[in-house]
Structures are given as C-alpha cells and as structure tokens.
C-alpha cells in the first residue's frame, strides 16, 4: 500500500489519532542486538524528478513555524540561483541544480524517458522542461540520529513517529550536534546572547500528532513529497524505479545512508550531482562511537589495578634496595670490626714478640755485661796475682 497525502488523511481519520496507532504497536522481532527503528514510523519520499522549485514548501514551513518573513518573498525564484543551506529562520530550502552540471547523464536519461514515455502514454514522467533539477533540503530525521548520539544532555530524541525532536529546555548550546550532523542541518542562533537555540525541521511533529501532514508535504502541488510509513515509502520508491528505470538512478537515498533516514529521495542523476553526499557510508552515528565508548569502562576497571600493581612493584623494589643497603652497611661494619680485631691481634703479637726480643736482648746484654764484668774481675785478679 502506498500512502499519498490524501490516502493518509483518510487513514489517520480511521485510526482516531496518528499517535494512538503507534502507541499500541508491538515490536516485531525487535531485539537488543539489532535495532530496526520504531515500527511503523513515518517518513517522507521526495521525488526530485517531480519538484518544480516553486518554493511553496519553504513558505508553508516558514508560516507553520512562525518565522519572520524573508527579505525576498517566497515567489521570488531568483533566490534559487545560489545554493543555500538551512538557516535559523529557514528550516527547509529548495536548491536548483543546473542542467549543465549533469549534462551528459541528464540528456541521456531524459532522452530515454521520452522514448519510453511514448509507449507508456499518459504515465510519461519527464524531467521538467527547464532541464534544471530542484532538491528540497531539510532535516532528514535519521533513524539513528547523529545529533542525538552527540548530545551530552539528551536534548535530541528519535520520536516513535519518526521525528527527531529537540528539547530546548535542556540544551547547553555546545553545538556538538552541528559538528556531528553529516547533512549539515542544525543551525544555531548565534545572535542570541543568552538563550540561543539549535534550530531545525521538526517534521511538523505537532501537526502529525494532530493527525495532519507536515506543512511542506501538504502544500506541495506536484506530489513531489509523499508522507507515509517509511517501510511503505521504500516499497513505493522501489516500484517507481522498477516502473521507470530510465527516469531514476537505482538508489533510494536515505534507505541506508548513515544507518538510514526517515526522509527518502529519488533522483534522475547520481545524488552527488545534486548536492547530496554519497560517501557518508552505512554506519550510523552511534555505531561510529560505540568502540570508543566501550573502551571507557574497561579503562576505569583495569587502570587502577595496573597502576596500583606498578606502584606496588616500584615500592617493593625500593624496599628491597633499602634492605640491601642496610645489609651492606651492616656487613661493612662487621667487616671493619673483624679487621680491627685482626689488626689488634697482630699488633698484640707483634708487641709480644718485640717485648720478648727486648727481654732477650736485655737478658743477653745483662749476661754479656755480667760475663764481661766477671771476665774483667778475673783478669784483674790474675793481674794482681802476678
């Protein structure tokens, strides 16, 4: 089933209130290992081939969000000459991409379209006559929003309707969401000194909750925007590509980009030729940061253990070194004492020896003297006798 805006209105009526139907949904196979987003959440399919660049969506958006009127009125299409981005007062902009920029692919595609169009008769879909393409730009309402993943106060939330909401009452104004957003969507009230807010498309959440369509979808005169369940929109987009393969590149932008977005795009030319980046990859923002985040608790768990271990080891080394030093000192002391004792002994021995020698010599001397004396006496006596 495809939901155009008219069908959706009827469907909403049948289900009492849009949000009520969502509240009652039961998750089918939603496990904690794989996350498929809110079941039955809404999205918008933007078929670039159908957009005529009338800027009515811009006007409706501005009015619904009570924005100040721009300097140039919305019916002034000269604004389209310059590529624009969302600003604080414009949550959506339509950009024009000249035929020149994608000449080759566009001519071949449109040529084919005309050929097949003849066969298909009334169903013919042609790139609008001017040869320019118009692309609407606004918040893509990611399934896993980078802004929400980046926000350190949980000011951004993915609503079950599909809208990514912003809670002004929590916002600190760090602007990390703007750094994180791969589509460069959030804007900031730089001129607000004390109460700056981050501004972006709300998917008209208040209107959806009332059972109404987003303002831009409602006003679009060419059905270039289709609101509905995202799953259904993807099926519808596939069907369109299948039915008119010459009108579209085989790529639904937003099906997988950055983990998928609630806004989906169909284009006749490669998306990077109409200002949409094709190098964003399929990984969602929380997947990009999950590795670094999961390293945090491991550091907290292991670092104190490791560091205390290193500390204890260095402490132990100090202690051992201290003890060794003590021992060494003690040993030196002991050695010194021993040596001293040895020396003393030697000295004693030496002294004893010396004394002995001295005594001996004294005795000898005495004996010698005595001998001499007696000898002298003897000679004296003999002399006297003679």
């Amino acid at each position: 089933m495809t939901i155009t805006r008219r069908k959706f209105l009827g469907w909403i009526g049948g289900a009492a209130a849009g949000s009520a139907t969502l509240a009652g949904t039961v998750a089918h196979g939603a496990s904690n290992k794989e996350f498929k987003g809110y079941p039955g959440s809404f999205g918008v399919l933007h078929d670039i081939t159908k957009c005529i660049g009338c800027r009515k969506c811009e006007q409706a958006c501005s009015e619904v969000n009570a924005m100040p009127a721009p300097n140039k009125p919305f019916d002034d299409l000269s604004v389209l000459e310059k590529e624009r981005r969302t600003t604080v007062t414009t949550h959506t902009v339509v950009n024009k991409f000249d035929k020149r920029e994608f000449d080759k692919s566009a001519t071949s595609q449109s040529g084919n379209a005309e050929d097949s169009g003849d066969k298909l008769g009334g169903d013919k879909q042609v790139i609008n006559s001017s040869g320019s393409l118009f692309v609407k730009k606004q918040c893509n309402h990611c399934l896993e929003p980078a802004c929400a993943s980046a926000c350190f106060v949980n000011a951004f939330k993915k609503d079950r309707t599909g809208a990514v909401t912003y809670n002004e009452s929590l916002c600190v104004g760090c602007r990390y969401c703007m750094v994180a957003c791969p589509f460069n969507i959030p804007t900031y009230e730089y001129d607000e000194p004390l109460t700056p807010r981050v501004m972006k498309c709300t998917l008209c959440l208040p209107r959806i909750q009332e059972g109404k369509l987003p303002a831009c979808v409602e006003i679009c005169p060419k059905e270039a925007l289709v609101f509905g369940e995202r799953e259904e929109l993807i099926k519808q987009a596939r069907m369109r590509i299948q039915k008119y393969p010459d009108n579209y590149v085989d790529h639904i932008y937003g099906e997988h980009e950055m983990g998928g977005t609630s806004w989906l795009y169909l284009s006749p030319v490669p998306f990077n030729e109409v200002g949409m980046r094709e190098d964003l990859g399929k990984h969602s923002a929380p997947e990009l940061t999950a590795g670094a985040l999961s390293a945090v608790p491991i550091v907290v768990g292991l670092w104190p253990v490791l560091l205390t271990g290193i500390y204890a080891i260095s402490k132990r080394k100090d202690k051992i070194a201290q003890e060794e030093q003590k021992e060494a000192v003690a040993k030196v002391k002991e050695d010194a004492q021993e040596q001293m004792a040895l020396k003393l002994e030697e000295l004693k021995k030496k002294m004893n020896k010396e004394r002995e020698i001295a005594i001996k010599t004294e005795v000898k001397k005495a004996l010698d003297q005595a001998a001499k004396a007696s000898e002298a006496k003897a000679t004296k006596l003999s002399e006297e006798e003679q």
Binding site: Y190, A285, T289, G291
Partner: protein, 410 residues
C-alpha cells in the same frame, strides 16, 4: 574555628609577603590585555556569539574549542605525567617538578572550564550533563564528566601548597595522605578525557580529512598528550628559570636538569612510538594516496616537522645531556601539539567545503583566547610568588623529603 578563619583572613589581607604591583612594561601589557578581555566578555554576553566570533552554521566550533579546549587540555597533561612518574613509577628525582606541574595542570583545566563559559550558549547549564540530564551516549559527556572530576582532583592535589602558605598543618597532612589515590584517579581520568577529546571527531568521518580521521583518534590523542605534558613541563620550566629563578630552592635547582633530561628521553621515545602508530593508521585505512596531495604535504609537515624532528632533537639532547637543546626541542613539540589539535578541529575539518564557506577566526576570538591565557599567567605568577611551588616550605622540608615513603599511610 572562627579564630582560625580570622587568622587566615588577616594573613591574606595583611600578609607582608603580598607586595604592591609594580608598573613594569610586562605588567602594563598584561593590564591592557585584561581590560580588553573585560570588554570582549561584555560583548560576548550582551551581543551573543555572533558579534564576537566568525562561527557559522557550517563551522560551529572555532578557536575557543580548537585552541582553548583541545590544546589547553593536551598541554595541561604535565600534571598527570609528572605525578604518575614520581609517585606511581617511583622516579623520585622528579619530585621537585611535581608541584609546578600540578599547578600548571590545575590552572590549565580551570582556564579550559572558564573558556567554555564563553563558547557554550548557556554557560549556567554546564552542570546539566553531569547532574541533570546525562547524555551517556555522547563522547562529549565523557569529556565533560572527566574534566569536571579531574579539575576537582587537581584542585585537591594543589591545596597542600596553599595550606602550607596559610599555615594549616593538620588539613595539609590529611590531603598529603591522599596523594597516591589522587594520582591514580588522575591517571584514569586523564586517560579517559584525553582520548575522548580525539574520539569526539569519530562521529564525523564525512567532515574530517581522511589523513586525520582514524579509528585510532582516541589513542593518538592520549599518546600525544603524554609528550605534550612532558614538553610543557620542560618548556614551562625554562620560562620559570628565566623569570622566577630567585624563587627556586637548591633542591629544585639541582633536580631540574635531571627532570629536563629525563623527560627529554621519555618524550623522544613516546614520540617515536606515536609516529609508528600514525604510520599504522595510514596503512590500516589505506590512505597512502592522500600523501601526494596538498593535504598530504600538510600532514607530513605536521608529522615530520613537529613530531619527528623534535623527537630527534630530544634524543640528541638526552644523549649529550644538553639541557638547552632539550628546551629548544620542547618549543617545537608544543607547537606540534597545537598544530595537530588545530588541524583536527579546524584546518582539516570541513576540508571538503569551498573556501568561501570555511572558517577563519575573528580578531576578537583570538583576543579572547589571548586574554584567557594571560589570565592564567597572572594567576601562575601570583601563586608562585606566594606559595611554596618552586621551593619547599621550611616547615615541611623533612616531611617532603620523606613524602614518598609516608604519604601513603592514611
């Protein structure tokens, strides 16, 4: 109790040590910068970010984040590097370097927090992430929580100096008893927020140039914070020697050459390891072909000019025991860190945008950053002039020399 507070007050007011400000040329320039900062503050808070900065919706972060936050935090890493070297790894010869390093780190983080008040839209909500609505899936939450906690840790680690100045012996010895646990907390928190600052950019692979974007960003930031811290200790030491030589005691003077050479050796080796993992980063993402573009040259300029060359200079300085050469090397290493952080947050960020949409800071943004740095220098000069930072307080000399052995008894 009241008596004590009165005595502290009188000490603060009638302290014979607090001298009158002399109007030297340096002080006059300082005063001019402070007055200018005052007016810029008024402009910021009455006119909004739009009046002072060149920030826009494509470039939400400017020099206040790229320089004040990223460089400020990286260069304040000296606190955890020095205190862990001394207390955890047991390198006691770094002891006299711990206090100045802790003071610089504390002032650095305090200034980061101060600068954030200028950058965020509603500064009075800065406690929200920690106390009111924690966005736990955000790496900025991780950074905020750790910086907040680490600022407290650093403050407590710094207080003994203030208590010695004020003569509060009991509370001083209690805080000194916490040294070990504070040091370990400091390393844990520093590891986390230094790396998380790099991880902030993991969420934007489409905006940061592939040569700088890597899954290893958090590791790069953490490893580079180590030699950033060491280089800053050496650099700051050389400034202190020039202007505050008379404040240093014999222990500080005799140990300072050893600190410079020790950190030179360590920084040199860590920088070589850093170069190695940078090379691995190139290989793992197969980014070789980017090297031959203009961005590649700029990348090599950063890595060779401001990592490889200072690493080699450090090595030569450490081998030759040439303190002067190590100090010259530290200037290059510090510049290299600043260049790296600015590359990631500003220069190679949004590289795909046409030059008309790129960011260049306004003079008022730069002047505000200069004002904040000047404020830090003024406070540093005040504290080193009055508190026992570069010397040991005579009452606690014995205590300090035994700190390694005793500080852990609690």
């Amino acid at each position: 109790m009241t008596l004590q507070t009165i005595s502290i007050k009188s000490r603060l007011i009638n302290n014979p040590l607090i001298k009158k400000v002399e109007w030297t040329p340096v002080n006059i320039v300082t005063a001019i910068i402070l007055v200018m900062g005052f007016f810029l503050t008024i402009a910021r808070f009455f006119g909004g970010l739009g009046t002072v900065t060149n920030l826009d919706d494509n470039n939400p972060w400017g020099v206040w984040i790229g320089f004040d936050l990223l460089c400020g935090v990286a260069l304040a890493a000296g606190g955890y590097v020095t205190s862990s070297a001394c207390y955890i790894f047991g390198l006691k010869r770094f002891h006299s370097a711990v206090r100045p390093a802790i003071l610089t780190a504390f002032l650095g983080y305090a200034l980061v927090a101060f600068a954030l008040n200028y950058d965020v839209g509603r500064p009075w909500r800065l406690p929200y992430p920690v106390f009111y609505s924690p966005g736990t899936s955000s790496l900025l939450f991780e950074v905020g929580l750790c910086v907040f906690l680490y600022l407290n840790v650093l403050f407590i680690e710094f207080t003994p100096a203030a208590f010695e100045w004020l003569g509060l012996k009991k509370i001083r010895s209690f805080v000194v008893g916490l040294t070990m646990i504070l040091t370990i907390f400091g390393v844990v928190l520093s590891t986390l927020h230094q790396s998380s600052l790099g991880a902030l950019f993991l969420i934007a692979p489409s905006k940061l140039h592939p040569l700088w974007y890597s899954g290893y960003l958090p590791v790069y930031f953490f490893i580079s914070s180590m030699f950033a811290g060491m280089s800053m200790v050496i650099f700051e030491g050389s400034l202190a020697h020039k202007y505050l030589h008379h404040k240093m005691d014999d222990t500080h003077l005799s140990e300072s050459d050893g600190v410079v050479l020790g950190f030179s050796k360590a920084a040199s080796f860590v920088m070589m390891g850093y170069l190695g993992i940078k090379l691995i980063g190139l290989a793992i993402d197969n980014n070789w072909h980017h090297l031959f573009t203009g961005w590649g040259l700029w990348f090599l300029f950063e890595l060779i000019g401001f990592v490889a060359i200072p690493a080699f200079m450090y090595a030569v300085a450490a081998r030759d025991k040439n303190v002067k050469f190590a100090r010259i090397a530290s200037v290059f290493a510090v510049l290299g860190i600043i260049l790296n952080r600015l590359n990631i947050s500003l220069i190679a960020f949004n590289w795909h945008l046409p030059s008309s949409q790129r960011y260049f800071p306004s003079w008022m943004e730069i002047a505000t950053s200069v004002f904040i740095v000047t404020l830090g220098i003024v406070v540093y000069r005040f504290i080193t002039a009055y508190m026992p930072i570069l010397y040991e307080h005579s009452d606690y000399k014995h205590d300090n020399s035994n700190q390694n052995a005793n500080s852990h008894d609690d």
